[in-house]
């Protein structure tokens, strides 16, 4: 049996559908500890490829007999190298991940969230390898894209297939974990690019200010996208209420956690903003709104169809970050013992401001790793 190739899309489908998959990750231990493919049905072990150069016999007893085995590395070279050896050693059902973790990091899976009341729909683009979520709202042939990723192709293909005229592109805040595709998409589609002005004080390009009270419309005039100023993760962070049904929270509120206030270096200053947004501003909104965040951190946050969504009312009951009564406790939670910051987050912020313009390959390197934008209560 020859070594097979598995695409990031196939792996994503397996993860979402809870299909059994055994992964042999052959990157070095540090890279593996930093970030790996996760899923409820995924069993994964790490043996660096350099321990397998002289042969794979010593690890054969660690591989399951029946399950599909996937060899994974950073780009794909080493996984092919190890995969071939496994095949030669008589192991069956072996694949390698095409493009490696780099491609995994970039894969976007569009999932339909629901219909809008007056025609149209909202879609979530799940970047499963990195935990980034972006959105496309469409109605009557028009569309708006929110919190887009650097990879513009999936949005382009999606819009073209559906024959959509993309009018608006927006970011809920200046991202620190991934490079926004907003500016590029605005150019591609001839659309307007919106940013919260308070996050855009240092940007080097023209943009449209995102302001509370100035609603945007997509297609049918009844499809409203209502900006809600909700600072805390960044000073400009702005949420959207789409069609009175969906609350796009950006990096302020996630399904199992809340945003961290420190990625722009202002943790202490922004704690009270974050508290006010989560404990007052959002609380005044309807419990029936569906929260659609810009991230997830754990695979368990994905629902059966692969989407990440929760009712605001439910989050006020279950999300521990929304249930810290004491202000001092809350301050501690979001400023102390924070997880490490996302890789290269300073450079990513500068790229999003337009201050630096790294080559594609460099941008890819900068984004490797998990998003780490959340704090768990």
């Amino acid at each position: 049996m020859a070594l097979k190739e598995m695409t990031a899309k196939e792996v994503a489908q397996k993860v979402i559908n809870n299909e059994k998959l055994f992964i042999l990750d052959v990157r070095n231990e540090e890279a593996y500890q930093d970030w790996k493919i996760e899923g409820e049905s995924v069993e994964i072990i790490n043996i660096p490829y350099f321990d397998l150069i002289e042969g794979v016999d010593h690890i054969l007893d660690q591989l399951p007999d029946d399950t599909e085995k996937l060899v994974v590395c950073a780009k794909e070279g080493s996984s092919k190298f190890v995969g071939e050896q496994l095949v030669e050693a008589g192991v069956e059902n072996v694949s390698y991940l095409q493009g490696g973790m780099k491609t995994w990091s970039e894969h976007l899976e569009p999932v339909k969230i629901g219909d809008l009341k007056d025609g149209g729909a909202i879609y979530q683009f799940v970047r499963i390898g990195k935990g980034c979520l972006s959105y496309l709202v469409e109605s009557n042939g028009e569309a708006m894209i929110i919190d887009s990723n650097r990879m513009t192709e999936p949005y382009k293909i999606f819009a073209n297939e559906k024959g959509l005229n993309v009018k608006h592109i927006a970011d809920t805040h200046l991202h620190a974990d991934h490079i926004s595709g907003g500016r590029k998409l605005a150019e591609i589609f001839g659309a307007d690019y919106y940013l919260p002005p308070k996050d855009a004080t240092e940007v080097t390009y023209d943009y449209n200010p995102l302001e509370e009270g100035k609603d945007l419309t997509v297609g049918n005039t009844k499809i409203q996208v209502q900006p809600i100023y909700s600072p805390g993760h960044t000073i400009g962070s702005t949420s959207f209420i789409v069609d009175d049904q969906y609350l796009l929270t950006g990096d302020i509120l996630f399904v199992k956690s809340i945003g961290r206030p420190d990625l722009a270096g202002k943790a202490e200053d922004w704690v009270s903003d974050l508290r006010d947004t989560l404990y007052r501003k959002y609380k005044d909104l309807s419990d029936e709104l569906f929260v659609l965040p810009a991230h997830f951190s754990k695979m368990e946050e994905l629902s059966e169809d692969g989407s990440v969504i929760a009712k605001l009312g439910d989050l006020y009951e279950k999300n521990s970050g929304l249930n810290v009564e004491d202000e001092g406790e809350f301050r501690k939670l979001v400023t102390e013992n924070l997880p490490p910051q996302p890789n290269a987050y300073q450079e990513i912020r500068e790229t999003n401001m337009g201050k630096i313009n790294p080559e594609d390959e460099e941008q890819r390197e900068m984004e490797i790793g998990p998003n780490r934008c959340a704090v768990e209560g």
Partner: protein, 187 residues
Amino acid sequence: MIKTDKVLDAKGLACPMPIVKTKKAIGEVEPGQVLEIQATDKGSTADLQAWAKSTGHQYLGTKEEGDVLKHYLRKASEAETKEESSYPHVINNDELKTKLGNEDIVVLDVREPAEYAFSRIPGAKSIPLGELEERMSELNEEDNIHVVCRTGNRSDRAAQILSEKGYKNVLNVVPGMSEWDGETEND
């Protein structure tokens, strides 16, 4: 330019080839010698470090020159990991630290030039152990010589050589650079 014993050209090669070739090349140098690996694969830095750690070879550092990464690796010898020192006059790292800047001493670093290049005690003089006999005249017999290497083994041998040749004030620094937490400088 850092002096090395062998240069491996792995430029343009993608993972896993830089490590595959390094593994082969390290077999072709003697223990204690330094291998320079030239690579363009960005992932090679982390992988070489991890590989060196798992094999016991000493990863010295990496220099970037344009698109080329130059990795320096010193092949470990079994003797290095053994803790046998026979030269009786020793001084520990902390004692040396307090002497630096206060007393008129010579710090003699007997490691390979590549090790010396990446991290050394400020002002240390470099004479690799293998060159000590021929370059001994660069030192005065009356100098207060403190010999340092990575773990105290090479410096032990150097201290013995020096005292046999009539150098009177020679101390071996133990353990040496592997545990050095004082100031350092590099190229």
